[in-house]
């Protein structure tokens, strides 16, 4: 619809909107290098709070827990989510399809308190020991839905005649999938893994419900510190997390040409 002139109103609303989205994060990053103990008094540049974080055993444990939960759950979610996307995009009509897609789309918007509570009650009923694996299962369940949407929208946009040609030329479905379809969706799968990892790294509510004593994730630790007030060390941790996410986003955008295909889904991923 890029027709007509861009008015001053268009440009202003865009610029203001982007400033609103980015300024708070920039301020947070700058203040993480503040030498002063008082959060809002500038005392010169320093890496003091980063040193503090790397000497904080409990925080480091929580960070390690988050990274490993993120890696394992993202991998499981990518596997399951991709399989689900294939079923939805190529399975034509089948019995229970509406239930399947409903189960996959509704967690995207389901309030986290409900998902967290219901999974906890399941784990209690199964008498599962709560900790690493319960959080990992919970995160897999949530994030595989995001992977499904990303991979499914890529599969739907593909030209199916290529697959059909491969099969007409004698490929069985599995070979046609591996040789023709998979290479075309691999970028979406990579992007899906990264999205799943980031979402897992971000979650505080579901992890609070499903984790056990002594295995807090990084967001749970950050959250309990933030409730007590602003601490410069938290600024440093947050900056490190933002840095990690930025690296992931750069990789993902190179991998999947985000800009050209993202506009197609109703959801922002």
């Amino acid at each position: 619809m890029a027709v007509g002139r861009i008015t001053r109103f268009n440009m202003t609303s865009l610029a203001l909107g982007l400033a609103f989205l980015y300024l708070p994060i920039v301020i947070l990053i700058i203040y993480s290098f503040n030498a002063s103990r008082l959060v809002n008094v500038w005392g010169g540049w320093s890496l003091r709070w980063y040193h503090e974080f790397f000497g904080d055993r409990a925080m480091l444990d929580a960070a390690w827990m988050s990274l490993s939960v993120g890696a394992v759950s993202a991998t499981l979610a990518t596997l399951l989510g991709t399989l689900a996307a294939i079923g939805l995009a190529r399975g034509e009509r089948f019995r229970g399809r509406a239930l399947f897609s409903g189960m996959l789309y509704s967690p995207l918007v389901m309030p986290e308190v409900i998902s967290g509570l219901s999974l906890l009650l399941l784990f209690v009923a199964l008498n599962a020991e709560r900790g690493f694996w319960t959080v990992t299962i919970a995160h897999t369940t949530l994030t595989m839905c995001f992977v499904t949407v990303v991979v499914q929208s890529r599969l739907t946009s593909l030209d199916r005649s290529l697959e059909e040609a491969a099969m007409d030329l004698g490929c069985d479905p599995l070979r046609a999938f591996l040789l023709v379809t998979l290479p075309q969706i691999v970028t979406a799968i990579v992007a899906g893994w990264m999205l799943a990892f980031i979402l897992s790294l971000d979650d505080v509510v579901i992890a609070s419900f499903t984790t056990g004593p002594g295995s807090a994730t990084l967001p749970i630790r950050i959250y309990s510190e933030v409730r007590l007030g602003v601490k410069p060390e938290i600024n440093a941790i947050c900056t490190l997390v933002i840095g990690l996410i930025a690296v992931i986003i750069v990789i993902a955008s190179f991998a999947s040409k985000l800009s050209s295909t993202r506009g197609e889904s109703a959801a922002p991923f």
């Binding site: 947070l28 689900a84 199916r160 479905p173 506009g263 959801a267």
Partner: protein, 304 residues
């Protein structure tokens, strides 16, 4: 056509594992929520009664079934605390969604009118904050809004106020946090519909004598309504159950339903009442969820 059908069978087989996973970890847990919402609190592990034990035979099971009751739901409708937190959740969600629409629409519209090569970059710039930790973004605002934070420092230096203003623990801070966190969810579906709009309908409108303003209200806006609906649902549903933002930014004198549920569960250890609150919240969300599901399916399955 036959190649498609041959392809469909293994594709359906691929869906078996995720299907079972979602049934076990998404659908079945709701059954437990429902069951425990009908149970009583007990000082035990787990802290509710009755506990079904299939090994005890049928009689024990029927006895346990007889103990289920709607008492927790009666409590929900009779106690002001719960009714008020429901109403507050609805008010906050409706208000925030309207604000998001008012702010998000002009931004999405601006994006859709950019030259093609800039649109991808603008889209990237809107997506990046969505990918950035949401807890961190809320924390960033606490930094700015606190008593001696940047906002008060600026206002004091500019002599706009004479004493620091209390921003944290207010409804304004909460709305700010919600709008900030959910803005990408509103912008992207709006942008998706606006950018796909056929430019020739606007040309036709102006050829037929419509002013740009008339063309916007008579053509562009009505055509963008699917995007408006998608964005509004993507924001409204999770905001109703929001916990972290009101907990960190709003005052504690009136709670949203997500906070009440959290309080009953973690502080009062009343699992049955927390479950009943979850069931009631879910019932409230069924109509928007069904609508959202339909929209999402139409998006992903090619206009069907």
């Amino acid at each position: 056509m036959s190649a498609r059908r041959i392809f469909a069978r293994p594709a359906r087989l691929a869906a078996v594992a995720p299907y079972l996973w979602m049934v076990l970890f998404f659908l079945v847990p709701f059954g437990f929520v429902l069951k425990i919402s009908l149970s009583q609190t007990a000082i035990a592990q787990p802290p509710y009664t009755p506990v079904f034990d299939v090994t005890e035979g049928r009689q024990a099971l029927t006895a346990a079934l007889a103990q289920l009751s709607f008492d927790n739901f009666k409590l929900l409708v009779s106690d002001d605390l719960y009714i008020l937190s429901y109403l507050r959740s609805l008010t906050v969600a409706v208000t925030s969604t309207l604000i998001l629409l008012l702010i998000g629409y002009p931004i999405a519209y601006g994006m859709a009118r950019l030259p093609q090569r800039w649109q991808g970059i603008a889209m990237m710039l809107v997506i990046v904050p969505f990918w950035t930790s949401f807890l961190i973004r809320i924390y960033a605002w606490i930094n700015i809004l606190q008593h001696d934070g940047l906002l008060n420092q600026i206002l004091l230096t500019l002599h706009i106020v004479s004493a620091p203003v209390v921003w944290l623990s207010t409804d304004s801070a909460m709305y700010l946090g919600i709008v900030y966190s959910y803005l990408p969810f509103m912008i992207l579906p709006l942008y998706a519909t606006l950018s796909r709009m056929d430019a020739s309908v606007l040309e036709a409108a102006s050829d037929l004598g419509a002013s740009p303003r008339q063309a916007f209200w008579l053509v562009t806006f009505p055509l963008s309504l699917p995007g408006v609906a998608a964005g509004a649902l993507l924001c409204f549903i999770p905001i109703v159950g929001e916990f972290v933002i009101p907990d960190l930014l709003a005052g504690s004198n009136s709670l949203m339903i997500g906070q009440t549920l959290w309080l009953e569960f973690f502080t009062n250890k009343d699992w049955p009442v927390a479950s009943a609150a979850a069931v009631a919240l879910l019932l409230l969300l069924v109509p928007p969820l069904v609508l959202y599901d339909r929209l999402q399916r139409r998006q992903l399955e090619g206009g069907r």
